[in-house]
């Protein structure tokens, strides 16, 4: 039973939540991330590889992954400075996966974020090496640039991130995705495996790494894992929906690509309406995990909402 005081708290919280301005929050934090990314990787000899790495790393994008990491760390009492190297590393890993996914032997994409893909500019050989370089550097950067965090926790962050990238995560998801290409009978379970690994694992890692850096308890880590798993899957469902409903200009990449490749997607299995409902349900569940953090959870709440409302 809810007491009057509880109800007042709930109403106050909702008012606060409604008042939270995600645009202002992002406008304040995105330039910090851009600057940190720019500083993280200076160009030295042999210039070509650094330029190729920077071409994709600094190609814009929402910077959702670094921001999730920073917002989680701050929510739990940590500082931006403490989490920034890991936040940059998460974007490096994400960029590596995009560069390699775009290769002719993989998804064979010419455009990404409205720009030519890495291999179209630098050649396949350099694109492969730029991905390798970013992946290796992400771990070096966490290990060397993180300050004010005990080594034990930095090591946990590295273990967590590498698990999210390898065959247990992103790479595993991509393998199953490739296996399912051109198959129209992919089950929802397989599709969910693909996305919880190909996209979800890294998004979860952003939140969990931010929490580890802020010395979160096991209980808090679990709540935040569930939050991240839910928004990760919602994110992918919305991506599938946008692939059908958005234009190439809005997406900054080839639209209708999934349909052309005869890839199974949530809309192709559930239809658009049920896909939208499912994404909303996942976002609601994600937000429920944040209830105990009160006002401090507002940035992560707003990011969850942003996922279903975005148009590109």
């Amino acid at each position: 039973m809810t007491t009057i005081q509880d109800q007042t708290t709930i109403i106050t919280n909702q008012a606060n939540l409604a008042a939270f301005d995600l645009s202002s929050y992002l406008a304040q934090i995105q330039p910090q991330v851009e600057a940190a990314l720019d500083n993280s990787l200076p160009v030295v000899y042999p210039e070509k590889i650094y330029e190729a790495m920077r071409y994709s790393l600094l190609a814009g994008g929402k910077r959702l992954r670094p921001i999730l990491c920073l917002a989680t760390c701050e929510m739990l009492g940590g500082t931006t400075a403490m989490a920034m190297p890991t936040a940059c590393a998460l974007e490096m890993v994400h960029t590596m996966s995009l560069i390699h996914d775009d290769l002719p032997a993989m998804d064979n994409d010419d455009y990404r974020r409205g720009k030519l893909t890495n291999h179209k500019v630098y050649g396949e050989d350099i694109a492969i090496l730029a991905g390798d370089g970013l992946l290796a550097y992400s771990f070096e950067y966490i290990a060397k640039a993180t300050q004010g965090v005990p080594a034990e926790q930095v090591l946990q962050v590295i273990a967590q991130l590498s698990h999210a990238v390898g065959a247990t995560g992103l790479v595993g998801g991509q393998v199953v995705d490739l296996e399912c290409e051109g198959k129209s009978d992919t089950s929802v379970e397989t599709l969910t495996y693909i996305h919880t690994h190909k996209t979800g694992a890294l998004l979860e890692s952003c939140v969990v790494c931010g929490a580890i850096l802020a010395s979160a308890s096991a209980e808090v880590l679990q709540k935040l894992s569930r939050y991240a798993q839910n928004i990760g899957l919602a994110f992918q469902i919305v991506d599938d929906i946008l692939d059908i409903t958005a234009t190439q200009e809005e997406l900054g990449k080839t639209a209708g690509k999934d349909l052309q490749a005869q890839k199974a997607t949530y809309p192709s299995i559930w239809g658009l309406d049920q896909s939208r409902r499912q994404a909303q349900k996942l976002v609601d569940e994600a937000k429920a995990e944040l209830a105990s953090f009160g006002e401090k959870g507002r940035p992560l709440m707003a990011i969850a909402d942003f996922i279903t409302s975005r148009t590109h």
Copy 2:
């Protein structure tokens, strides 16, 4: 001036060194490394990627890198158990670099260690992902499987290894190597840059990581870095010589490849004789760095000698 006691010590050391049986040492340590590598990476869903990773990781080879790591750690009073996860990780990273180097967009090799290359068996897409998976897993494995070593040192190992793999090491060396392909006017300086980065950085990392795990002082780390840099370069010069003088059967890979690709090599710049002399000089200098370790340095001394005497 050398005293009689010094001279006796030197003679005794030389007798001991002569008596050291590298074959027995390798016969004892190689199966331990093979077993550890086999255990490090079990096959789970999605099986195909684990099989592809294991196909190249367990394709034999001398296991020089893990052995260098283990031998260094033991020389300095550490245990095999302490260094084995890092030793396996070093072989994972080396394997990743071979898989990616062999790709059609890179060196386009069909054979490696007498077996079909990874992409010839599993396809280019899986080969790219198998490399990514091994690279990511190498860091996870160090972070999670290393026991009995303070987190601070494990973190140093990760920083050291990632630095040796990225654009500051292996990837950088490979980029300059690609740039020099088909050019007959490559300078010795550029050739040395290529090899100290493409091969040398990882070999150095094997020795330095083994030393870090055994809590080596900065002075010892410097000596061992120089040892490793010297044997790394000697190793590459011998590799270049063998590419000309050995048969395909001995090498287990396409022979005369450098000549065909019009790659600059040490023999093409210096001739075979001077290349052999230079390799021997580097090995002698490497061994001189080990003088202060006395009898305990015998495995690393013997490994240095092995590099110039090997025929494949």
